[in-house]
Structure formats: C-alpha cells, structure tokens
Amino acid sequence: MVTLDRLEKRAIGKVVRVDGDDAIAHRLVDLGFWPGTEVELVRRAPFGDPIQLSLRGFRLALRKAEARRVVVEPA
C-alpha cells in the first residue's frame, strides 16, 4: 500500500482509505475517493506538483500534500 502521490505515472491504484478527519479529508470523500474506487495518476505538472488524477471518469488536480491523504493499493 502506498499514498496516492507515490503512484507511478499512468499507474492505477484502488482506494483503501482517506486519512484524517479535517476539511481536506471530507472534500476528498465528497469528490469520490471511496474505498474500492480506481484512481489513475495521469501526469505530474511541470514542477512535479500538483498531479493530475483520473477517477470515476473525470479529471482532478491535487497537490501532492493533498494526495498524500489517500492510501491506495497499486493494481
């Protein structure tokens, strides 16, 4: 298991859990980071941060610090 920001480019992970109980964690859940959801790391921005993800058919940009909250099981 790794945190989402550590996924390789183009790799897919299955969400295991979202860490924390603050605003960031709640927002991540609202955005669909539910256990079992497949997330793909599409690319990193020119300076390595933020990262672009794909989940549930839409594209999302997260800073690495935010992505670190999501624990995934690489597929």
């Binding site: 605003a23 609202d30 690319r43 020119p46 390595g48 933020p50 549930r56 594209r59 940009a61 800073r63």
Partner: protein, 659 residues
C-alpha cells in the same frame, strides 16, 4: 406589492451543486435576465439571484425567484460559505431545490442528491454535460431509481430548460417533499449510463480532451504554450481595443469643441470640459480594454483552459501563498486591475482571493505605460529604454510576491491551502454565459468605478480651477493688449500668453497650494512642487499626471494618448512636454529633473495606488471598506519609501547631477 395584499411572493428555487457542475449555465438559461449578487442576511457570503419567467399551464407567465448558492460538495459544511448556504437551505424561504448534477461524475453527484432530499423540500435533478459523454443516459430509469424528477439540460443548445422550468414551478406549487429512499450511487450510475464504446477507461483514453491535454499540459511544452496563449491574448486585446479607444478620444474631443462653441468661456465651460467630459472620458476610455479582457478571460474559463493554466503554475504561486487560480487575475491586471480583480471570483478560498486582490494592483497596468514612456524617452538613452521599462514591470511583480507572502503568513493566514480542482472536459463556451459575464462586468465597472472616477475628476477640477483672482486676468489682459497685428507671430504670442495664464491660475489654485504644502514630504524623493501637484492630480487616475504637468509647464493641452511605446523610437520629434521637463529648473537655477528624479517618479507610479476605479472594485469585491483602505495605504507608503530610497541611494552613488 404592499398595495395588494393578495399578491403572493414568487416561489423560490435554490440552485445547488458543486463548482463546475454547470450551475451558472442553468441560472443564465432559466432566467435570461440580469443577475445580481445579494448577501445572505447577516453575513458577507454572497448568493446570486435572478427572476425566471415560466409559462404556466393556463398560458399566463409566472415569475420564479432563482437563487444560485455558492458551490457545495456535500451536506457537511466545511467552509464558512458552505455553512451559510446550507443554513439557508433549512429555512422556509426555499420552495424547491434544483440539484445540478454533472453526468460525468454521476456517482458523487448522486451522493449529494441523496443528502438534499432529506432537507424536506421538493428536489428536481438537472443533469448537465450529457453531450460530453460518449454514452446514452437513461433519464427515465434514473427517475425511477431515485424517485425524483430528472431533466436533461444542454447549456449549448438551451434544450431542456423549458421542461426544467415547468417541472420546478409544478414542484414549487405542490410542495410535496420526497420520501427517503436508499440507493447505491455506484449501482445506479452503472445502470443508467450505457457506454457506446467498450468501457469507461477505454472511453477516457480516447477522449479528445485527454489528447489535447497531452500537449497543453506537457511537462516541457505546457508552460511555453501557456506563455504563447497569454501573449496572443494581450496582442489581440491591445490591437482590438485600439480603434475603439481612438473613437472615444475623437468623440471626447468633438464633444469638448462642441461645448466650447455652445458655452461661453468661463467656469461653466471649464467645468463641463475639464471636469465632467474629461472625467467621464477617463472612465469610458477603459471600456474597450475591459471588454476584451473580460471576454477572453470568460472564454478561457468557459472552455476549460483556465483550470489547465492553474494546474501548470500552481507550484510557483503556492510558494508565495497563492495558488494556480491566482494566475489569470494577476496576468489580466497587466492590462487593467479592475477586470483582474473581477476575475478573482473563480478563487474559492476567501483568504487566497483577498490576497490576490490586494496584490493585483501592483501589476503595471496599461495606464502606467504612458508615464513610463514619457520619462524614459526624456531621460534615458534609447538603448536603455526597454530595460528601464522592463525593470518597472519586474518591480511590481517582486513586490507583489513579497506582499502576498507576508499577508498569507499573517492577516490572511489560512488553515490549509488547497488546490483540489477539477480539470473539466474542454467544451465550446456557451455564448449566453459569456455574454452575461461580459455584460455584468461592464455594467459594474461603469456604475461602481465610473461614479468614483467622475467624482474624483470633478474634485480635482474644482481644486485646480479655484480660486481665480482677478489680478491674474488683469495682468494677462494687459500683456495681450501689447500684442498687435494678426500675423503668425502675434497668434503664437497670444497662444503662449494663454498657456502662461492657465499655468498662473493653476500655480495659485487650491490644488497647487496643497501640492506646495506637501512638497516637503516628496522632497526626499526629488520631486519639485510641480511634480508633487502632478502626483496629487494623478490619484484618481494615473494618466492625469501628463495633462497636469502639461498645464504646469505652460504647454496648454497635452494628451496622454500620444505617449505609446512607438513614440519611444523617435523621442526627439517635437515633444513639448519632454523638452520642458529637461529645461525645468529649481528656483536656484539647478535642473528640476534628472534621470534619477525620473526613475524615482517611475518607481512611485509603479507601486502607488493611484486609481479610484481599482479601489472601487476592491470595495465591491471584498464587500468591505477595510481592504480598499489597506491597499491604498500600503501601496502609497511603499511607493513613497521606494521613491525616496531610489533618489537617496542614487544621490549617494553620485548620480543625478542635482546640487
């Protein structure tokens, strides 16, 4: 309404959905009218209201009040804005909730809809962005599974909005709350969306948006492409606005000469021409640029590219406590801070938004350019001109970075800075939405900023026109009487006397008296009293320094519009103001201006808050008096400090030449 007690208020629809769900399009299509922002009672959180006219069953149109709430992602309030918006949903003011659901994110939208149905109001689901999906969506089945009315709407064609309006009106009249029903969002989405291609992932990979993003978000080419796009926009902006600005200047000149024929010379004529027409003119002259800028920003936003710009630059801007979302407002401010400040509306974090607003006026706007051009062309060799002007732009950017960094660590310290931003599917912008945004921005500029500039311009006119002692007139009448004949030389002499008379009046006017009184404050920066008066006159709008200096140096009318970048290449062509500035002396005979003074004045203009329109926009956008005052205070203080530092350090290093 109070005259007729039987009139019931129109039913109220609450538009609820997350950001980017297409809420704004739904509002614009439903209402087709001007929208106006209103604050929630007792708070500074804003909602947008408009009236929709719906044809009811018996043919008579019925009005509905449509309230667009701030973006909400769930029924659990996280930000204070969400708290206020959600609190309002619990009140009896709401008759029906219109849940805006982006079909591309159907599962998470359904989770939100499930929360909304528990509030006890009727819920209608508006499905948006169906055209962006390579799939068929079974709305009837979704209705069955949810037990709620579902309407598919298309922002581009406008299809479905009549049905949505009718469904909302019917639900608002019946007011039957939806019952509870347990659903599995994943399961429902799977059954309702029938992919035309093999499966979601294959579909996404082939998607046009992803192919475009492979280029536009490329690790190496992404940033150069963004630079090119912004450069192109600025080119189109200046080229597009120029003919209109020329027309406005011509119109202003024609109007002035018409008034000067109609009204006898005197206080009334001067008030109409130098006060009113000049004041209104200095508002209207910005309209073409603001129009094009808002148009381009709105197109970028609606097409989806804005989010990409934010993605590419987030890392850089996060270093100073801003985010990628600040990029477009800040870049827009290089043309004009007013539309730049309006563009901050897309920043959802309030503190980050205010930090962006506070530093946006430090970007060197197009009104500063004539000031730079006049002074650089006069006091610097043409080989250095570009470098000096570039340094002024760089100064603004560096100071903005420092101010933003400081603010985000003190007064505007946020609990957490986030990006969490959807990169929407590229789409053709909806004309109605773009037109609505451009129209609203222009109206707001004309009303809020316009009023302030006109009032300030009239105030500057009043103080520069009065008092008018008879002694000056007598003195110049006597001199004019000495000029005989009507040949060219005599006419030239008379024009010279007229200009000298205007200068004599201005020199003892209230404005000049104030200017002379505050000159000691500006002396450490190397400004003489004339420059000081010019600086004071420029507080409503920067470019006013040029006509003011023109009058003070007895030149008659000098037009700021004459000083564009092109004029830098031929600074020696007859240029009254530049010649006069070089020749001007202190009372003791030493030159009043040097390259060092010019540099100090430019630095002052680069940093100073000399724009009533910007302050008005800040007042409006932050809904407070505190922030415009703060911006005025910190920028003016910084400008003074920097101008003094430049002059004193320059003097210590032996530059400047003055005694």
């Amino acid at each position: 309404m109070s005259k007729n007690p039987t009139v019931v208020p129109p039913p109220t629809v609450a538009l609820v959905g997350r950001q980017n769900s297409g809420k704004t399009s739904v509002l614009m299509h439903l209402t087709r009218t001007a929208q106006h922002p209103v604050n929630f009672p007792g708070s500074s959180v804003e909602r947008v209201e408009a009236t929709a006219t719906i044809p009811s069953g018996d043919g008579t149109p019925v009005e509905m009040r449509v309230v667009d709430l701030p973006g909400i992602g769930s029924l659990e309030a996280i930000s204070p804005d969400e708290q206020v918006a959600l609190g309002w949903l619990h009140t009896g003011e709401v008759d029906v909730i219109c849940a805006i659901a982006d079909v591309g994110k159907l599962t998470i939208e359904l989770a939100l809809v499930q929360g909304l149905r528990e509030l006890g109001h009727p819920v209608i689901v508006a499905l948006t962005k169906v055209d962006q999906l390579d799939a068929d969506v079974d709305a009837a089945q979704l209705e069955d599974l949810l037990g709620l009315p579902v309407v598919i709407v298309d922002a581009l064609s406008g299809a479905g909005f009549d049905r949505l309006g009718a469904a909302l009106l019917a639900a608002a009249r019946q007011k039957i709350p939806p019952g509870a029903r347990k659903i599995d969002p994943d399961e429902v989405a799977r059954r309702v969306i029938r992919w035309r291609t093999i499966g979601p992932r294959a579909e996404r990979r082939k998607h046009l948006t992803d192919r475009i993003d492979a280029v536009l978000l490329h690790r190496v080419f992404g940033l150069p492409i963004l630079a090119l796009v912004m450069f192109g926009i600025f080119q189109m902006l200046f080229v597009g606005a120029e003919p209109f600005m020329g027309l406005i200047e011509d119109g202003q000149a024609a109007l002035s000469s018409w008034v000067s024929e109609l009204v006898a010379p005197g206080a009334l004529q001067s008030f109409l021409i130098d006060g009113l027409i000049n004041g209104v003119g200095s508002v209207v002259i910005f309209v073409p640029q603001i129009f094009f800028l808002i148009l381009f920003v709105s197109l970028l936003e609606a097409s989806g590219y804005m989010a990409r710009a934010a993605f590419l630059l987030d890392r850089v801007l996060s270093k100073v406590g801003l985010s990628g979302r600040s990029f477009v407002p800040l870049v827009s401010s290089f043309a004009c801070a007013v539309p730049g400040i309006l563009a901050t509306r897309m920043i959802d974090d309030e503190r980050e938004r205010i930090a962006t607003i506070v530093v946006a006026p430090l970007m060197s706007c197009s009104a500063r350019l004539p000031v730079y051009v006049v002074l650089v062309g006069t006091f610097f060799p043409s080989g250095q001109a570009g470098l000096v002007i570039f340094a002024m732009y760089a100064l603004g950017i560096v100071v903005a970075a420092v101010v933003a960094w400081l603010l985000r660590r003190t007064k505007l310290k946020g609990k957490h800075s986030t990006l969490m931003m959807e990169l929407p599917t590229y789409q053709r912008p909806s004309l109605r939405v773009v037109r609505g945004q451009v129209g609203a921005a222009l109206r707001e500029f004309m009303v809020t900023a316009g009023t302030i500039i006109v009032v300030a311009a009239v105030l500057i006119w009043l103080t520069s026109y009065y008092p008018r002692p008879a002694e000056i007139q007598e003195r110049f009448e006597a001199k004019r009487a000495l000029v005989v004949g009507d040949d060219e030389a005599a006419q030239g002499k008379r024009a010279e006397l007229d200009a000298a008379e205007r200068a004599a009046y201005l020199e003892q006017s209230a404005l000049a008296t104030v200017g002379k009184a505050v000159t000691p404050i500006f002396e450490p920066a190397g400004f003489d009293w004339r420059t000081t008066v010019g600086v004071l006159a420029a507080f409503p709008a920067r470019e006013l320094i040029i006509p003011t200096l023109g009058v003070l140096y007895s030149l008659g009318d000098v037009d700021a519009g004459a000083y564009d970048l092109a004029s830098l290449s031929h600074p020696d062509e007859d240029d009254g103001l530049r010649k006069k500035l070089k020749e001007a002396t202190h009372p003791d005979g030493t030159p009043a201006w040097s390259a060092l003074t010019a540099l100090a004045v430019m630095v002052f203009f680069a940093l100073c808050s000399q724009c009533a329109a910007t302050l008005g926009a800040i007042r409006r956008e932050t809904r407070s008096r505190k922030w415009p005052l703060f911006v005025f205070g910190y920028m003016t203080a910084l400008a003074w400090l920097a101008a003094v530092a430049v002059y004193q350090i320059g003097r210590a290093l032996g530059a400047g030449g003055a005694s």
